[in-house]
Amino acid sequence: MSAEGKKPRYMLVWGGLALLTGIEVATAFVVRKALEGFEIGHEQVTMLIILILLGLAVWKALLVALYFMHLKWESKALRWLAVAPLLPATILVVVVLMEYV
C-alpha cells in the first residue's frame, strides 16, 4: 500500500467525503429551490439535479475505492478485477431499460 513511504492522508479523504455529503443534501433541497426560481422547466431542473447528484455520488465512491480500498496503490490487474463487474452490470441495466425506448 503505502510502501512508497508516502502515507495516504485518510483524514483529508474523510473531510472530503463529509463535505460532499453536505453538498449533496444541499443540492437536493436548497439548490433545487434556487434553480426553480429561474426560468427553466421543472423537468430540466430535475434532470440537472439528478446528474449533479449522480456525479457527486460517483466522486464519493471513487474516493472510497481509491483511498480507503487502496486501489490507487494496487497493481493494474487488481484494478481491472475491481472494475470488471461493472461491465455486465451496466449491460444488464441499460439493455433492460431499452424496453422503454
Binding site: P85, P88, L92, V95, E99, V101
Partner: protein, 592 residues
C-alpha cells in the same frame, strides 16, 4: 510478465498424514478431493431423483390417464390410484428441470470436478480456502434437500416451471402453491450462496496457486473451462439470488416487484432470470467441453488442435454469454428491436462453438484413436452436441422461433445440449477420473455397454422430439389429446416414453456399475490412460495434501506422441531431455 529463476518453492509443506477421525476425514472434510467425492455422491443421487421425475412425467405423456404401475404409493394429492394429476404433473416438470439444472448437472460439472481437479491439475496442496469449500458443500446439500422436501409440504412442490415466470410464481392464488414455492426460492438462494463460495475458491486458487512453470497457457483446457465457468457463476448467480429474493418477498411480505397489480413488471423477472440463465447455460457446457478436450486428446494420442483458439473460444463464449439472454424472450412481449439485437449476438455465439467442434475433429484427424469408454463418451458428446448446437440456430433465427418457441423443438434442443452434451461429458469424466478418485478401474466392457445403451436410447428419446416440436406440440402440457393439431402425436409420445424408461434403466445400470467398481473394480495404476496432466503423477487415490513437494511444470498438457519420446505421452513435469528414450524415469518422488 515478471520472471524469476527456479528455486525450491517457499511454500511450507502442510501438516499431512496424521490420522484424522472419520468425521473430520469424510464428513466435515476440508480436503478438496473428499469434498469433490461428496459432491459426486450427492449429485448422482439428485441425478437419479431428476431421472425418476422424468420417468413419471414421461409415463403421463406416453400413457395419459392410465394408472402408473406402483404409482398408488403416491399420496392422493399427487396421483390418486396411480393416475397422475395435472397439478402434480406440473410439479414434476418444474422439479425435473430444477433438479437437473441446479442439483445435478451444474454441481456434477463444477462441484465435483472443479473441486477434485483444480488443485491436482495445477499442482497445489488444496484449495485456497478449504473451509469455505466445506461450507459450500454443506450449503449445497441443505439447499438440495430443501428443494426435495417441498414435494411433501402442503400444496406440493412449485408449479411454475424451472424458469419460475412471474406472476404465476409470485402469486400463490394463481399457482395454488404457497409453501412449496417459498421453499423453491429459499433453496435457490442458499444454492446461490453455496455456488458463490465455490466460485471464489476456484478463481483464487487458479490465479494464485499454480505450480512453478504452470503458466496460463500451460493450463489443461479443463482448468481453463472451469476457471471461466467460475467467473460466469460469480457474476451471474448473484443476479438470480437477488431476483429470487425479490420473488420471495412478492410471495410473502406483499412487495410488488413482479406483480403488475402493484405496478411491478413481469418481464423484469424474465430479464433477471435469463441474465443469469444464459450464462448458466454456458456454466453447464463449458466444463463439459473441457472434459471432452482432455479425453479426446488423450484418446487420440495427439496434442489438442489449436490450444489457444480453444482458450479464446471459451472466453468468447463466456463474454457473449452475457449479451444473448434475450433470445429466451423473443415472444415474451419484449421490445422487438431488442429482439433483433439479441438475435445477432446469439447467432455470433455459434461461431466459437463451431470452432471447438472443428478443433476436436482436427484433434482426432491423424491420431491413433483408442476406443476407451471415456473416449466413446467424448466422441458421443461431439456428435450429440453438434445436433444440439445446430438445432439452436433454428431458434436463434427469431422468425422461426415464433413458431417453435415453447414447443418440443426447444425440449429436444435443451436435452441434446444438456444430456447429449453435458451429461455425456460427465459420464466420460466419471470413467476417466474414477481410477484416480477411487483407486479402482471401471470394467471397460461394462462401460461400453453403458455407452451403447445410453447413446441409442438417448437418440430414441430426444430425436423424435424435434418432430413433435415441428407439429407444434407445446411444452409442459399434461395431455395432448385436447388439441386438434396434436391428434397424431400420441404414438410417438408412447414410443419416446418407452425409450425413456430404458434410458432411466441404463442410468440405474450405471449406478450399479459405479458402486460395484467402487468395491470390486480392478486396482488402478497411477496413470491408467497414459495421460499428461499432473494428477496422473500422483498415486491413485492421491493422499491428503496431494504433494509432499510441489511439482514443476515444463510444458503444456497435450504433448502426446512427442517426437523425442519413445512412449507416446509426456507428463507435464517431465522434461524430454531428462526423460530420455534411453532411460525412462518417472520424476515422481518416492517411486524411483
Amino acid at each position: 510478465m515478471a520472471t524469476m529463476t527456479a528455486e525450491p518453492s517457499g511454500i511450507p509443506v502442510r501438516e499431512e498424514h496424521h490420522p484424522q477421525p472419520f468425521i473430520r476425514k469424510y464428513i466435515f472434510s476440508t480436503d478438496h478431493k473428499i469434498i469433490g467425492i461428496q459432491f459426486l455422491f450427492t449429485t448422482l443421487f439428485f441425478l437419479m431423483i431428476g431421472g425418476l421425475l422424468a420417468v413419471m412425467l414421461r409415463f403421463q405423456l406416453g400413457f395419459p390417464g392410465e394408472a402408473m404401475p406402483g404409482g398408488s404409493i403416491l399420496p392422493e394429492t399427487m396421483a390418486p390410484g396411480g393416475i397422475i394429476l395435472p397439478e402434480f404433473y406440473i410439479s414434476l416438470v418444474t422439479m425435473h428441470g430444477t433438479f437437473m439444472v441446479f442439483f445435478a448437472i451444474m454441481p456434477l460439472l463444477v462441484g465435483v470436478y472443479a473441486n477434485y481437479l483444480i488443485p491436482i491439475e495445477i499442482g497445489t496442496h488444496d484449495m485456497a480456502f478449504p473451509r469455505l469449500n466445506m461450507i459450500s458443500f454443506w450449503l449445497f446439500l441443505i439447499s438440495g434437500l430443501m428443494m426435495l422436501s417441498s414435494f411433501w409440504v402442503v400444496g406440493g412442490a412449485s408449479r411454475s416451471g424451472w424458469t419460475q415466470y412471474a406472476p404465476l410464481s409470485a402469486n400463490p392464488d394463481a399457482s395454488g402453491v404457497f409453501t412449496g414455492q417459498i421453499l423453491w426460492c429459499l433453496s435457490i438462494a442458499v444454492f446461490g450462496f453455496s455456488s458463490l463460495l465455490g466460485s471464489i475458491n476456484y478463481i483464487t486458487t487458479i490465479v494464485n496457486q499454480r505450480a512453478q512453470g504452470m503458466t496460463w497457457f500451460r493450463l489443461p483446457l479443463v482448468i481453463w473451462a472451469l476457471f471461466i465457468t467460475a467467473i460466469l457463476g460469480l457474476l451471474a448467480v448473484p443476479v438470480l439470488t437477488a431476483a429470487v429474493i425479490m420473488l420471495l418477498f412478492d410471495q410473502t411480505i406483499g412487495t410488488t416487484f413482479f406483480l403488475p397489480g402493484g405496478g411491478g413488471q413481469p418481464l423484469l423477472w424474465q430479464h433477471l432470470f435469463w441474465f443469469f440463465g444464459h450464462p448458466e447455460v454456458y456454466i453447464l457446457i463449458l466444463p463439459a467441453m473441457g472434459f471432452v478436450s482432455e479425453i479426446i486428446s488423450n484418446g487420440s494420442r495427439k496434442p489438442i488442435f489449436g490450444y489457444k483458439s480453444m482458450v479464446f473460444a471459451i472466453m468468447a463464449i463466456a463474454f457473449l454469454g452475457f449479451i444473448v439472454w434475450g433470445h429466451h424472450m423473443f415472444q415474451s412481449g419484449m421490445n422487438p428491436r431488442l429482439g433483433m439485437s439479441f438475435m445477432v449476438t446469439t447467432l455470433i455465439i455459434a461461431v466459437p462453438s463451431a470452432i471447438k467442434v472443428f478443433n476436436w475433429m482436427a484433434t482426432m484427424w491423424g491420431g491413433a484413436i483408442k476406443f476407451t469408454t471415456p473416449m466413446l463418451f467424448a466422441v458421443g458428446f461431439v456428435m450429440l452436441f453438434t445436433i444440439g448446437g445446430l438445432s439452436g440456430i433454428f431458434m436463434a433465427a427469431n422468425p422461426v422461433d415464433i413458431y417453435i418457441h415453447d414447443t418440443y423443438f426447444i425440449v429436444a434442443h435443451i436435452h441434446y445440449v444438456l444430456f447429449g452434451g453435458s451429461l455425456f461429458a460427465i459420464f466420460g469424466a466419471i470413467y476417466f477420473w474414477f481410477p484416480k478418485m477411487f483407486g479402482r478401474m471401471i470394467n471397460e466392457t461394462a462401460g461400453k455397454i453403458h455407452f451403447a445403451l445410453t447413446f441409442i436410447l438417448f437418440n430414441l428419446v430426444f430425436f423424435p422430439m424435434h418432430g413433435l416440436g415441428m407439429e407444434g406440440m407445446m411444452r409442459r402440457i399434461y395431455d395432448t389429446s385436447r388439441y386438434t393439431h396434436l391428434s397424431d402425436v400420441q404414438d410417438t409420445n408412447t414410443m419416446i416414453s418407452i425409450a425413456a424408461f430404458g434410458l432411466f434403466a441404463s442410468g440405474l445400470y450405471f449406478g450399479v456399475l459405479f458402486f460395484w467398481s467402487l468395491f470390486k473394480g480392478k486396482p488402478a495404476p497411477d496413470n491408467p490412460w497414459e495421460a499428461n496432466t499432473l494428477e496422473w503423477t500422483l498415486p491413485s487415490p492421491p493422499k491428503h495434501g496431494n504433494w509432499e513437494q510441489l511439482p514443476t511444470v515444463y510444458h503444456g498438457p497435450y504433448e502426446y506422441s512427442h517426437p523425442d519420446m519413445d512412449r507416446d505421452w509426456l507428463l507435464q513435469n517431465e522434461r524430454p531431455d531428462i526423460v530420455s528414450p534411453a532411460h525412462e524415469v518417472t520424476i515422481r518422488k518416492g517411486e524411483a
